[in-house]
Symmetry: C2
Subunit: 138 residues, 2 copies
Amino acid sequence: MKKYSRQRELILNSLKTRTDHPTAEKLYLDLKNEMPELGIATVYRNLSELCDEGHIIRIKTSIGADRFDGNTMPHIHFKCKDCGEISDIYLFEMQMKKLDNDLKNFAKGIDAEASGSNITITGLCRKCKLNKKGEKIV
Amino acid sequence: MKKYSRQRELILNSLKTRTDHPTAEKLYLDLKNEMPELGIATVYRNLSELCDEGHIIRIKTSIGADRFDGNTMPHIHFKCKDCGEISDIYLFEMQMKKLDNDLKNFAKGIDAEASGSNITITGLCRKCKLNKKGEKIV
DNA sequence: CTCCTTATTGATAATGATTATCATTATAAT
DNA sequence: ATTATAATGATAATCATTATCAATAAGGAG
């Protein structure tokens, strides 16, 4: 039977309230301030469980450690090629439905049945776009 | 200055002709038959380079080692939740253009500039769908 | 409240995947 | 041929994550 734990609540709560997408280690270091006895294994363990249970989302990146996202509302991600930051992109319900429908049809094309999807757009974020412009001027 | 190497050619060639999406180790083991002196570090090294140069694609999976895809034609991936197999889904030019356009617009929504994307649909592949049906009958 | 079962923890060892190091070898220009 | 250096292969090192396990904490039952 599942038991309550302060650690798990802290981890989930923290992920639900912060809007960045921290790695397990970043989250561990941050939470260690609030709960110094916290162990890093506990963080990894709970993050994996919370993913399995669908309370949070694991984001694989092409380099480095996995990131975690407490926001389970359907959304897609944008990763900046320059600064590496990952941002959320929320779609309007209509857009999301259309996209969902498209993906389901693509899967049908190979006789498969879609149940989920993972979309990451890459490119330049707003900040890095501005930086690039600055470079050209000088 | 870039120099030719038999190993790199073998690796790239192999990936271009096979349609599965092998891990670095799988590829290494297969190629070791053709070239017994091949080292696994060489495989990892060349795979990373070939990715950087855009000749192949790295596929991150939610569990286990990265997979590599010699097919750089625009396409998306389908990963079966049951058997873990990764298949290619090719879109018609029209579909692809529409999808591309949609993604570019989503990025614009956060003032970002899209230059690429990574789409993986998850669900049940054809084979595993049939297996599931078989289970229910018995 | 106290006892008891067992889920969960934290420390750390182990693992898996990948990258770094470095002496040796292969490539290509002179 | 000679030479400069890119690339290799063996292996050590690193990084991220999971497994192990004794100690602790949660939450019934009596």
